[in-house]
């Protein structure tokens, strides 16, 4: 009886240990698998040439990733510029000003916004943002725009990353002890001054981490940008031109890639690029966040 209990205990322990290691290994297996698959193109081409040329003719064997990399950067840049002020102000309101009841009302709103699937954002973007750009905004600046553009991708992405930034900043703000606010009030500072000069300065690393996390989320977002960005392989000349971010490239071409071996390798290289950048960004921001939250405990 005792022995069977101990055996069970040992078995359970091994089972749990193996699973824990397995889940850790997923990270390395994905990295390894992507490197292995994209090796032909990394080895075959000049590495810098892959990243800096923009000629994309898979059937002639020309693979230049510049358009896709730049598109991803433009779209993400616009998204962050739009999202950051709103996210920052909203999280300040929710953590510093809002009453308990307002909080109870607004936090679910933020959660719902983050729960809406990307494809719904895509549908919404094509219905509202795309026509808005092609009919109202773009005509002031350029001759013609379909609306499927860098700007459309940026706006849709901005809404998608707002909830993420808000919830992280609320969390870091709540880790700052009340004494620090009170110390500031006691020397005569107003609430506004306390927030700007004490709180935001204290949580600056946390805000930085939130931005990095949001950038990496925006880098990887696929289906929504695929639906509103237009997807032409030419370099975008203005924010009203269509663009072609990396994830959209992978999603659009996975079917035909089997026929040209090097094509498959090129698409896996795109996935590898995303993977490496996102893993780095996530690691950095998580380490910062862990430090920030521990500082006052």
């Amino acid at each position: 009886m005792i022995i069977s209990r101990l055996v069970k205990d040992k078995l359970a322990r091994y089972y749990m240990f193996v699973l824990t290691i397995f889940c850790l290994l997923i990270l390395f297996i994905i990295g390894g698998g992507l490197i292995w698959k994209s090796w032909p193109i990394i080895k075959g081409e000049h590495f810098l040439k892959l990243l800096t040329t923009s000629s994309w003719r898979p059937f002639k064997g020309e693979f230049g990733f510049a358009t896709f990399i730049l598109s991803t950067l433009y779209v993400t840049g616009i998204a962050i510029i739009i999202a950051l002020p709103f996210a920052l102000l909203t999280s300040i309101y929710l953590s510093e000003y809002a009453t308990k009841r307002m909080k109870k009302f607004f936090i679910p709103v933020v959660d719902l916004l983050s729960g809406i699937p990307p494809v719904i954002y895509g549908v919404w973007g094509t219905l509202t943002i795309v026509p808005l750009i092609s009919e109202k905004i773009a005509p002031h600046f350029v001759d013609f725009s379909t609306g499927y553009s860098v700007l459309a991708g940026g706006i849709v992405l901005a809404i998608m990353i707002m909830p993420l930034i808000i919830s992280i900043i609320i969390e870091v703000l709540s880790s700052v002890p009340t004494e620090m606010r009170e110390a500031s009030y006691s020397v005569g500072a107003t609430k506004h001054e306390t927030i700007i000069k004490v709180l935001l300065r204290k949580v600056a690393p946390g805000i930085f981490a939130a931005i990095i996390l949001a950038i990496s989320r925006a880098f990887g977002e696929t289906i929504a940008v695929l639906m509103v960005c237009g997807n032409f392989t030419d370099l975008p000349k203005s924010i009203y031109d269509s663009c072609y971010p990396l994830p959209a490239l992978i999603a659009n071409n996975y079917g035909e890639m089997m026929s040209v071996p090097k094509y498959e390798s090129a698409l896996m290289f795109a996935a590898l690029l995303l993977f490496v950048i996102i893993v780095l960004f996530n690691a950095v921001s998580r380490i910062i966040l862990n430090h920030v939250e521990k500082r006052y405990q």
Partner: protein, 278 residues
């Protein structure tokens, strides 16, 4: 002057919050307004019939059932994996040991990896093992996507379990394994929220299934057959030039949105209710 600035700043933060609320309402409004006129009973009770993609009769039952199968399978796989992992990190070894902390960092990073990378990896894996685009491939890939979500959200609850509760069963002579059986009740709110969160994420994700699950007009009868899914149904129908088909995309989007809303309200309800008596 300083007072004015103070008030102005407060108003600014309130405006921004109200703007975010308006944004949510606006998105929901557009989806409902576009989806409702195209909605009918056939949409959710019939699979596509002949000429469906030219605007003829039928519905997206294949996609609804496909999504449920895909996510159901993925959730079962990931529960079986994530609960033991969380237990190991928190109750078997010390929850603040270097290994635990390193593991948490890795799961956090996995959590941040976009679904398209999981999709590309799942696709490679399937080519490697010779599996065609199928329900099985989709389930495994979605499981990869939601395991980190589950681990992290159950872990948050497990981390808070007080030391005494872990030691009480042990002091009665229970083995580690038997202690864990007691602790499962403690984790229940965490597990429920984690499952609902994962369902929400899994059911709405298009990039993983696009590469791994394929698409079909019939309801799959075995896990080696391809399976349709709601996000892809929306995506493909929206790409059609025919207005009737596009309208169906809006109706499908409405179905998916309602599903997501129901899931997230249920999650909220359960996480409140179950955490009451602990």
């Amino acid at each position: 002057m300083r007072k004015a600035k103070n008030i102005l700043f407060k108003i600014l933060t309130i405006t921004s919050s109200v703007f975010i609320l308006t944004l949510l309402l606006f998105i929901l409004y557009i989806i409902v307004r576009k989806g409702l006129p195209a909605m009918n009973w056939d949409m959710i009770s019939k699979i596509p019939e002949g000429g469906f993609y030219l605007g003829k009769a039928g519905g997206v039952l294949n996609a609804i059932i496909g999504s449920i199968y895909l996510v159901g399978g993925a959730v079962i796989i990931s529960i079986l994996i994530s609960i033991p992992v969380v237990m190991y990190l928190n109750f078997i070894i010390k929850k603040n040991s270097i290994f635990s902390r390193f593991a948490r960092l890795c799961y956090d990073i996995l959590f941040g990896i976009p679904s398209i990378v999981y999709g590309a990896f799942g696709f490679t894996l399937m080519v490697f093992f010779g599996i065609k685009a199928s329900l099985l491939g989709g389930m495994i890939t979605i499981a990869l996507l939601i395991i980190p979500i589950m681990i992290r959200s159950i872990d948050e609850v497990a981390y808070m379990v007080p030391r005494d509760l872990i030691e009480a069963p042990k002091s009665l002579g229970a083995t580690n394994y038997e202690t864990l059986k007691v602790l499962v009740r403690q984790l229940l709110p965490g597990i429920t929220t984690a499952v609902l969160l994962s369902i929400g994420r899994g059911i709405g994700d298009a990039a993983t299934v696009l590469l791994t699950a394929g698409y079909t007009d019939s309801i799959p009868t075995s896990i080696t057959q391809p399976a349709a899914s709601l996000p892809l149904a929306i995506f493909f129908q929206l790409g059609s030039p025919i207005p009737e088909v596009q309208n169906r995309a809006y109706a499908s989007a409405l179905i998916l949105t309602i599903l997501i809303l129901v899931i997230s309200f249920t999650a909220r309800y359960f996480s409140k209710k179950l955490s009451k008596h602990i």
